[in-house]
Amino acid sequence: MTDVYIVGIDMIRFGRYPERTVVQLAADAALLALDDCGLGIHDVQALYSGNIGETMTGQRTLQLIGQTGIPVVNCTNACATGATAFREGWIAIKAGLFDTVLCIGVEKMAPGMIVKKKVGNEPLPAEGLIGSETMPAVFSAVGLEHARKYGTTLEQFAQVSVKNHHHSTFNPKSMYQKETPLEEVLSAEMIAYPNTKLMCSVNVDGAAAAVLMSERRARELGLMGRAVRVRASALASDAWSPRNQVMQDVNTVSRQAAQAAYEMAGLGPEDLQLVELHDCFATAEIVHYENLGLCAEGEGGHLIDSGDTALGGRIPVNVSGGLLSKGHPLGATGIANLYEVATHLRGTAGARQVEGARIGLTHVVGLGSACAVHILEKN
């Protein structure tokens, strides 16, 4: 099977675009990614489009930039949507169906809390009656379970937010570029204990896109110089775990996907120079340190304290600013994470460049659950 390369990848700056539609944002990102490798829409043989809020987003995007009649697949997989679309494109090239595909992730978000759609046949809405199902509540429980097991402190969770907001000050494509000292994070409005408002990701508009190519075509077109090799692509759904029915388990699914990705790449966490992981809430980043094997079991709190995951540390995590500050437009997040890692591997990340980056990992989790892990390597 051929190796698959990212030859073009880009994202729009995450933010608020009240005047632009979902598909206009998708088109913006698609054209940026095509420009990144000097291709046009006529070079693309299939489109994999990730979006949660609307339908037939891929086709409607092509209506804006070129209706070439290619196959279009629309993907939705919660917060793993963009990464799933990317992975579908990767699979198609691996299978030998196409040499050049485009993958897009896009979302427009209302500011404020995500209100879950009612599913099933329950007589009454559950929120506030049968505990809480808000995203902050879910991820606060994720953090408190870690605190229960290992004594992780509120300050350790809050430091994640301090770090990622600091990182975002070096990223021109981040929604926010503002320092948030520890006292400010801790004294911000409590949303769901222990996550304060500054420990919750930002709901923003965004789009990101990638052009994937087979090795043969990339060589033919002379695109190998800036190409980034996809060493592994793994997707997992939530295996049964004892409390999963009432308490979302983002750990088991992340571990499954990470293990599969490391096996596919023949690599381990010690081989990575940077990671973009799913910090939808500050509490999540700590548990994912362990889920991805960046530290030993129970050492997540110590890892943030050590400074190892900050820019300049042993294994920088979320140097983009992460979902906490760069922003989290659900369907776009997966490809935006891949953009960040690819940019470092190309050595073009500017002030936030992780020096000597050769191999990086991306991780996203969609509740319900889906986890996608990709490992990228500098060519």
Binding site: P125, L129, R243
Partner: protein, 142 residues
């Protein structure tokens, strides 16, 4: 217990005397316990091996969060508790009669299930009965 109240969730059952409990299912093959009715086992995949079980009314606080911001119209703060029940099964519910303060909440603390009118927690709950948890004082000595 007022049997005129309708169940607020699909998994509340009333016995012949009108006493409520939560309905679960246990897999005869792998023993996994689920909240509510199931036809097949989500853990081991066994088909048509699920037996209904009445879930216990006592348990211990496995995890929680204190919710200060919820959906529009929901009264806050409240404690969203995850409780491991005696005899199996894990249930989520509001923990009442404790200050919503982390200092008052201890992992593993004994709690018991009570049933009250759902209006207590939800404006739409008039006429419905729902489960809640309260600290289990009697059980806390052991």
């Amino acid at each position: 217990m007022n049997t005129d109240l309708k169940p607020a969730t699909s998994y509340i059952r009333l016995d012949t005397e009108g006493n409520p409990h939560l309905q679960g299912s246990r897999c005869e093959v792998c023993q996994a316990v689920f909240l509510g009715e199931r036809e097949h086992c989500g853990r081991c995949g066994a088909r048509s091996k699920m037996k209904p079980v009445a879930l216990a009314g006592r348990g211990r606080l496995y995890n929680y969060t204190i919710v200060y911001r919820s959906y529009p119209g929901i009264k806050v703060p409240f404690i969203s508790a995850i409780v491991d029940l005696e005899c199996g099964g894990t249930v989520k519910g509001n923990l009442l009669e404790v200050e919503p303060d982390p200092k008052q909440l201890h992992f593993g603390m004994p709690v018991r299930m009570i049933f009250r009118e759902a209006q207590l927690a939800s404006a739409e709950g008039a006429g419905y009965i729902a489960h809640f948890f309260v600290p289990d004082g009697e059980n806390s000595r052991d």
